[in-house]
Symmetry: C2
Subunit: 147 residues, 2 copies
DNA sequence: ACTCCTCTTTACGTGAACGTCATATTAGCA
DNA sequence: TGCTAATATGACGTTCACGTAAAGAGGAGT
């Protein structure tokens, strides 16, 4: 795939994708000679989608994402090496790394969910107070209910 | 209170607070004559805290926050007018407005929670897959368990 | 070989959200 | 009243995350 299609598929722009490559968020297909077109796989599309998602949902800077996605980057390498090695000990190591990376992301997401849930609770409380006041107003002043 | 204390209490800086005033996020105490020090109340501190919180948690721009916090701004006015009026019909109106504003915020927060929860599910799934593989590796290659 | 669209590289531009002086003024205190 | 720390105002600087324009090259179809 070429850059335009990837941009369309990910809801970004060619500039954005080149920028992500520029800052090291996306690996520049090392085999590509300068001047020739970049080409992408479905894996790249998936990665870009994940970048956008995490960026939007967690509000992370691209540098923070870089950090976090070293996990993903590593996972790709890990999967490859995993296929190639027959040493079960090495396989175990690779799986544990992978698990650690995912755990980091999970913590982040869960933390954020917790904060938002607290906020939701506070808002709901306010909302209920207003509703209660409204209700008491209705019973007080309802037409024909004058004490 | 003066700006330095407010900055400390909210974890921001004086510049930030002045900036928020500049763009209309914070009302400039209308009674203050130009050149004299700004002064703040606890309500201002609370508002700034809420701004920072929503900004960080939801990743909203200050302009979006401006929109969203028209709700809060209005609530303050509403509370004041609510105290002053005796017309129950008007009181009902004010309460309903207030409720609407809170509902908007609730929707936003809940939507974000839902998205994050989906993400959490996906991550958990991945995590479980890795764990399962690890487990199968252990039973296969556990010392002394050679078939 | 030619065409036309997409892409590449380079480089300058932009908006948001402040940071950072410089200079003048104010408020609290001895 | 004088000193000092905190503030006010104005203006320019900065970082991030791209947008945009210019000039040339790639590549698929005819």
């Amino acid at each position: 795939m070429r850059i335009g299609e990837v941009a369309a598929l990910t809801g970004t722009t060619a500039r954005t994708i080149r920028y992500y490559e520029e800052i090291g968020l996306l690996a520049e297909g090392a085999e590509r000679e300068l001047g020739k077109h970049r080409c992408y796989s479905q894996a790249d599309v998936d990665r870009i989608r994940e970048i956008v998602r995490l960026k939007d949902l967690l509000g992370l800077s691209l540098e923070q994402l870089s950090q976090l996605l070293e996990a993903e980057t590593a996972r790709a390498d890990i999967r490859r090496e995993f296929q190639e090695t027959d040493d079960p000990e090495r396989q175990r190591e690779l799986l544990e790394q992978s698990g650690g990376h995912i755990a980091t992301q999970l913590e982040l997401v869960r933390g954020r969910i917790a904060e938002l849930t607290r906020l939701e609770g506070e808002l709901r409380e306010r909302s209920e107070r207003v509703e209660a006041r409204l209700a008491s107003l209705e019973t007080q002043a309802a037409p024909g209910v004058r004490a």
